[in-house]
Symmetry: C2
Subunit: 332 residues, 2 copies
């Protein structure tokens, strides 16, 4: 069966915010699967801040996307044709499918998706963002009951899960997000306090909300918010560096944390994490988080944009802070 595939490739390296001209939208005829291969119809594509880093020609934790190459992206979909003994038509799978409608796969890197889980949740609380929150908070942040956990980008896909897991572990959870609506959402999720960085002095608000200091600070944003958090660390605090969305579109050098000597004053640590290092333990984390979801302790929210052709504009919602919950592109 012949299929037309549409996909986005990287046409140029963005300077600052990515624009439509940095991508090419291409149509081509999909190759037929060889013996041992299968075809996945991609249903949902994950849009993540990390994608901005992959577009730069710089050494990082994975190689940059080459010019002319398919835009890298995680996704979930259904097997629509199979010449592979391990996959049947109708199977739901997740993998790094790229920003495209179909993928011909050998099966390598594909993971089965529990039929009880809605597909977008597999890109959100039970996907990379949820896993990042789980391992970043529990393994790197090492919170103990009674600790104060602060997370930035708290209404985002990672941050919202960090705060909820902090609550599950008996901690005080304080979220920093932009705007009253996001802050209301944090309160609905059970955060003890929400700080609107667009309306409040973050340093003063942290002082008020964290009277015993911050034990774990989970940073997704960098910039002035990281600096404000550093001023309020408790003795022995753990700062988890997960991302720095405020810096990804810089055309000038990254602004480093001016208050980093607070690490010395407070005998604190700042540690970087990349979720891929925990691949061997994804299963245990997904099982535990699925139980939390079933028990109503963990909620996942997705912001779904319809239409693969919306990719370049949808991606920008991440950097303007417009998305509410995990940003997902629905392939229709």
């Amino acid at each position: 069966m012949l299929r037309k595939n549409h996909r986005f490739t990287l046409a140029a390296r963005p300077v600052g915010l990515p624009t439509a001209k940095d991508f090419a939208f291409e149509e081509h005829e999909l190759a037929s699967p060889a013996e041992g291969e299968l075809v996945v119809k991609v249903r949902y594509i994950s849009l993540d801040p990390a994608m901005r880093g992959w577009m730069n020609d710089a050494r990082s934790y994975i190689p940059p996307i080459k010019l002319g190459e398919l835009m890298r992206a995680a996704g979930v979909g259904e097997v629509v044709e199979s010449r592979h003994p391990g996959f049947a038509v109708g199977d739901r799978v997740s993998g790094v499918f790229g920003v495209q409608e179909y993928v011909v796969s050998s099966g390598a890197g594909l993971a089965p998706v529990d039929p009880r889980v809605p597909l977008p949740v597999m890109l959100s609380a039970l996907g990379m963002p949820g896993l990042t929150a789980y391992f970043g908070l529990l393994d790197v942040g090492r919170p103990v009951a009674g600790n104060t956990v602060v997370v930035s980008g708290a209404a985002g896909a990672v941050g919202s899960v960090v705060g909820q897991i902090a609550k599950i572990h008996g901690c005080r959870a304080v979220g920093i997000a932009g705007g009253a609506e996001k802050c209301r959402y944090l309160t609905e999720l059970g955060f003890d306090a929400a700080i609107d960085y667009k309306a409040t002095d973050v340093k003063a608000a942290l002082r008020e909300q964290c009277p015993k200091g911050i034990d774990v600070y989970f940073d997704n944003v960098g910039g002035p918010i990281l600096d404000a958090a550093l001023t309020q660390l408790a003795r022995g605090a753990r700062v988890v560096i997960c991302g720095a969305i405020s810096q990804y579109n810089n055309t000038t050098p990254v602004v480093g944390p001016s208050n980093y000597l607070s690490l010395l004053v407070n005998r604190a640590s700042m540690t970087g994490m990349v979720v891929f290092d925990y691949a061997a333990r994804y299963g245990e984390a997904v099982r535990e988080m699925a139980q939390w979801i079933a028990a109503g302790k963990l909620s996942s929210r997705e912001d779904i944009v319809r239409g693969i052709e919306q990719f370049p504009t949808a991606l920008l919602k991440l950097f303007s802070g417009e998305n509410h919950g995990k940003l997902v592109l629905e392939v229709v």
Copy 2:
């Protein structure tokens, strides 16, 4: 017996580099020791970069020195009068005596000094700088044999011991220091490589000298050298934040490490340390380091300035980088 005591107090909070006008040199009559007290004649006073921080009115790991108060400083001396059952005239002791000639003490905080150790060494390799190097490297940096250990301020009191302990533990030791003479000294101490930051591009030199990346970076200086080191971290590297002498006299905000996202790329950590936290283990460290000195594996060098009245100008040698080895003021 009546004694005249001379001492320096803090007269003003320095802006930028401390000047003579920030201190007052005072003469007063020493109180006689009460029953249970003793008098120490201070022989050597330790001059340390950390003193600059103590002069600022800012929250830190110890309270700031108040205006009009004695300048805080570690020292070593001899008991010259005693009404304390635990101390006899002639006993050698160390403590936080301040920048003065005599101190009347209840004995609290005083530690006996092994008569075989030259007094200045008790302020150097076997004093706070040596202990800082010992615990900062071994407990926070956690080097293993074969690791590459890089230290900045490498010809200083802390840095020179860090590099030597790294060698004792089977590591490659690379030191960063200012000027050919200091770099020669590092080579004499057994460092595998010395990088002169005044004459070389530090980033390029680190790339050359650390082909497998930096496993442990022990930072005493902050600023551009910290940033250069961050670009060369190995996977899982440990950055020890011990000090930031390049930033202590800033009149503008501290410059944070622009390359801190290297912590994320390399799953590395940056941890602050304060030697006082290890007080319960000073004894074990001094015993082990004294053995290394006796075995010729660890050498201590002091830069001794004579005359307590030289205090304000001697202190500046730390910030201009003029001192060679541990800077000590000899009270004559």
